[in-house]
C-alpha cells in the first residue's frame, strides 16, 4: 500500500500538470483572438493568465472546475439550498437514486438467473449464450427508445433509467455468480452428499457462501456499469435533471466548465460507490474467514 503511494501520487500530479498544460495550449487561440479584436498585444504571461480564467474555455483548468464544483455543492449547502435545482447535489441525488435502483434490480435478476443456470441444464444451455450475446449488443444505444416507450405506457421518472441500469448491471453478476456457485469442487460437493444434505442445504451452506468473493468482484463492475446506464438514460429525457442532463445541457450551451464539473462529480460518485462495495467486501470476507 505505502509502496505504491508515491508512484500513484506522482502519476496524479503528472495528470494535473498535463491538464494545466493542455488548457493553456487549447485556450490560447481564443485569448489571442480576443486580444486581436481589442487591438492588444499580449505577453506570454498575460496569455497564460487569460487561459486560466476564461468564461467558456475549451479545456477549463482544474481550479476553475474545482471552483464550479464548490459553488454548486459546498456553497449551496452553506446557504441552505442544498437541494435547489442549480445544485450538483440535487442532480447527483437524481442520478444516484436511479443508479441504486437499477443496481439492486440488476443484482437480483443476475443472481436468480445464475441460480437457474446452475441448477437447470436446459437454462444453462439455452440462456447462457444469450446472456453473453446480450452484452455484445450496444444496449446503451437503445436507451432513448426504452425511455420513450416506457413513457408512452405511463411509466416515467426513475424507473426507465433504472431499467437501463439494470440491463447493464445484470451481466457481470450473472457471469460472476455462475462461476462462484460452481466454484465448490467435487470433494466439497461429495462431502455435502455424505452428510445427506438436501439441495437447499447444499445451496445455502456451501454454494452461496463460496460464491461470495466472486459476487463482490462482479458487484463492483455492476455498480460502475449501472452508473453509466443512469447517466446515459438521462440524455434523451430532454436534460431535465441528473448528471447526464447537466452534461447535455452544458454541451448545448457550450458551458464547458459545467460539463467538466458534472463529469468529475460522476467520477467521484463512481469511486465512492465502488469504494463502499469494496469496504463491505473486506468486512464480509473477513467475517467469513475468506479474506486473503
Amino acid at each position: 500500500m505505502m509502496r505504491s503511494l508515491f508512484p500513484v501520487l506522482t502519476v496524479v500530479i503528472g495528470i494535473f500538470v498535463l491538464w494545466y498544460a493542455g488548457s493553456v495550449a487549447l485556450n490560447t487561440p481564443w485569448a489571442l483572438d480576443k486580444a486581436k479584436r481589442a487591438g492588444l498585444e499580449l505577453t506570454t504571461a498575460e496569455i497564460i493568465a487569460d487561459t486560466m480564467n476564461q468564461q467558456k474555455p475549451k479545456l477549463p483548468p482544474p481550479h476553475q472546475v474545482g471552483q464550479e464544483i464548490w459553488k454548486t455543492t459546498g456553497a449551496m449547502v452553506v446557504r441552505g439550498k442544498a437541494f435547489s435545482k442549480r445544485s450538483l447535489i440535487y442532480h447527483s441525488w437524481i442520478t444516484l437514486s436511479s443508479t441504486l435502483q437499477g443496481f439492486v434490480l440488476g443484482t437480483l435478476l443476475g443472481i436468480s438467473l445464475a441460480v437457474g443456470i446452475v441448477y437447470n441444464r436446459t437454462m444453462d444451455r439455452s440462456i447462457m449464450p444469450w446472456v453473453i450475446a446480450s452484452q455484445t449488443i450496444p444496449i446503451l444505444a437503445i436507451a432513448p427508445m426504452i425511455i420513450v416507450v416506457l413513457n408512452a405506457i405511463g411509466i416515467s421518472g426513475l424507473v426507465p433509467k433504472a431499467v437501463i441500469s439494470m440491463y447493464l448491471s445484470f451481466f457481470p453478476v450473472v457471469v460472476g455468480m455462475v462461476k462462484g456457485l460452481r466454484s465448490p469442487d467435487h470433494m466439497q460437493l461429495d462431502q455435502m452428499k455424505t452428510w445427506n444434505a438436501s439441495a437447499g442445504q447444499q445451496f445455502w451452506k456451501l454454494r452461496l457462501p463460496s460464491s461470495m468473493p466472486y459476487l463482490f468482484t462482479s458487484l463492483k463492475i455492476a455498480m460502475a456499469a449501472s452508473l453509466v446506464g443512469a447517466i446515459v438514460g438521462e440524455l434523451p429525457t430532454g436534460a431535465v435533471a441528473g448528471l447526464g442532463a447537466r452534461l447535455l445541457g452544458g454541451s448545448y450551451y457550450g458551458q464547458t466548465i459545467q460539463i467538466w464539473s458534472a463529469l468529475l462529480t460522476a467520477a467521484a460518485l463512481a469511486a465512492a460507490l465502488v469504494g463502499i462495495i469494496g469496504l463491505i467486501q473486506t468486512r464480509v470476507l473477513k467475517r467469513m474467514g475468506m479474506a486473503r
Binding site: 505504491s4 508512484p7 500513484v8 501520487l9 506522482t10 502519476v11 496524479v12 495528470i15 487549447l26 475549451k58 441444464r121 436446459t122 444453462d124 444451455r125 439455452s126 440462456i127 447462457m128 449464450p129 444469450w130 450475446a133 452484452q135 455484445t136 449488443i137 450496444p138 444496449i139 446503451l140 444505444a141 437503445i142 432513448p144 427508445m145 420513450v148 416507450v149 408512452a152 405506457i153 463492483k220 463492475i221 460502475a224 452508473l227 453509466v228 447517466i231 446515459v232 440524455l235 434523451p236 448528471l243 447526464g244 452534461l247 447535455l248 452544458g250 454541451s251 457550450g254 464547458t256 460539463i259 467538466w260 458534472a262 463529469l263 460522476a266 467520477a267 463512481a270 469511486a271 465502488v274
Partner: protein, 279 residues
C-alpha cells in the same frame, strides 16, 4: 385469441425441444441448436404476443414489421453502418487499442510508472468515461473524428490495464530460463512475455469491442451529421418510428456480435495453447 394460443404453443414446443436436447449427450450441434431454438422461440412469442394483444406498433413493433423495414431500408442502414462502425468505431478501436498496447509495453520497462499507473488506470476504467463525449464532440467537430476520439478514450484504459497485467503474467522460472539463454530484452519480450500476455490482451480487445460500438453510437447523441446509427436512433425515436429504431438495433446487434466473434476467433488461433481454449 388464436395468436395467444400460437404463442403458448411456440413456448411449450421450443422449451420441450430444448429440454429434450439438453438431456442428450453434448455435441457441437446441440451446443449451437439449443440457444438458437431458444432465440427463435422468443421471437415467435414476441410476434404472437404483439399480434394477440394487439399492442400498438408505436410501442413494440412485431418482428415481422421490423424485418420488412430492415429489408426495405438497406441503403440507409448501410450508410449509417459505414458512418458509425467503419469510420467512427473501427478507426477509434484501432487507434485506442494500438496506442494503449504500445504505451503498456513502454510502461513495462519502468516499474515505478507501472506501480503508479495501474491503480490510476484501474480507477479510470471504472469511471463513466462516456461522459467525455460532449467535450470531445466540441473539440473534434460533429463528424466521425469526434466519435473515433470518444472510442479511443473509452477503450484506452481497459486495454492498457489488461496489457500491463498480461506482461506481468510470466513467472520467475520462465524469465530465469530466458536469462540462462542470454536472451536480450527484445528477445524476452517477443518470444516469452508477449505470447504469455496474449490471453490478457485478447481479454482487453474483447471488452473493447462492445465499448467501441457503445462509444461511437452514444457520442452521436451529442451531435452528428445527418447519418449514423446513433443519429438515426435518436431522431426516429423522436418521430416514433420504432420499427426503424429496431432495425438499427438489429444492425448493431449483428455488428456487435460479429466484431466480438471475430476477435474471439482470432484469440482462438493465437492462444491455442491456453487451457481455456483447449477445454
Amino acid at each position: 385469441m388464436s395468436w395467444i394460443f400460437a404463442g403458448l404453443f411456440a413456448w411449450l414446443l421450443g422449451w420441450g425441444i430444448n429440454v429434450w436436447l439438453s438431456n442428450r449427450p453434448r455435441t457441437r450441434l446441440t451446443g449451437i441448436a439449443v440457444p438458437l431454438i431458444f432465440g427463435l422461440t422468443l421471437v415467435a412469442i414476441w410476434e404472437c404476443v404483439v399480434q394477440g394483444f394487439s399492442i400498438n406498433a408505436v410501442l413494440l413493433p412485431p418482428p415481422s414489421m421490423i424485418a420488412v423495414r430492415f429489408a426495405t431500408s438497406l441503403d440507409i442502414l448501410w450508410q449509417d453502418f459505414v458512418q458509425t462502425v467503419i469510420k467512427g468505431a473501427l478507426s477509434g478501436y484501432v487507434i485506442g487499442c494500438g496506442s494503449a498496447f504500445l504505451i503498456a509495453v513502454l510502461i513495462d520497462r519502468f516499474p515505478f510508472l507501472q506501480r503508479g499507473l495501474l491503480p490510476v488506470g484501474n480507477f479510470v476504467a471504472a469511471l463513466p468515461i462516456i461522459g467525455m463525449a460532449p467535450i470531445l464532440v466540441m473539440w473534434f467537430g460533429f463528424d466521425w473524428q469526434s466519435k473515433a476520439a470518444v472510442v479511443v478514450v473509452m477503450v484506452f484504459f481497459p486495454m492498457l490495464v489488461n496489457t500491463v497485467q498480461g506482461l506481468q503474467a510470466t513467472d520467475h522460472m520462465q524469465r530465469d530460463l530466458m536469462r540462462t539463454y542470454a536472451a536480450s530484452y527484445p528477445q524476452t519480450l517477443l518470444k516469452l512475455r508477449l505470447p504469455a500476455a496474449m490471453p490478457f490482451i485478447f481479454n482487453g480487445l474483447k471488452i473493447s469491442t462492445t465499448l467501441a460500438l457503445i462509444g461511437a453510437i452514444v457520442a452521436e447523441f451529442f451531435g452528428s451529421p445527418i447519418k449514423g446509427m446513433g443519429f438515426r436512433i435518436s431522431t426516429e425515436v423522436g418521430r416514433l418510428a420504432l420499427d426503424m429504431v429496431w432495425a438499427e438495433i438489429v444492425v448493431a446487434a449483428i455488428v456487435g456480435s460479429a466484431f466480438y466473434g471475430g476477435v474471439a476467433l482470432l484469440e482462438k488461433t493465437v492462444t491455442f495453447w491456453h487451457p481455456s481454449q483447449r477445454g
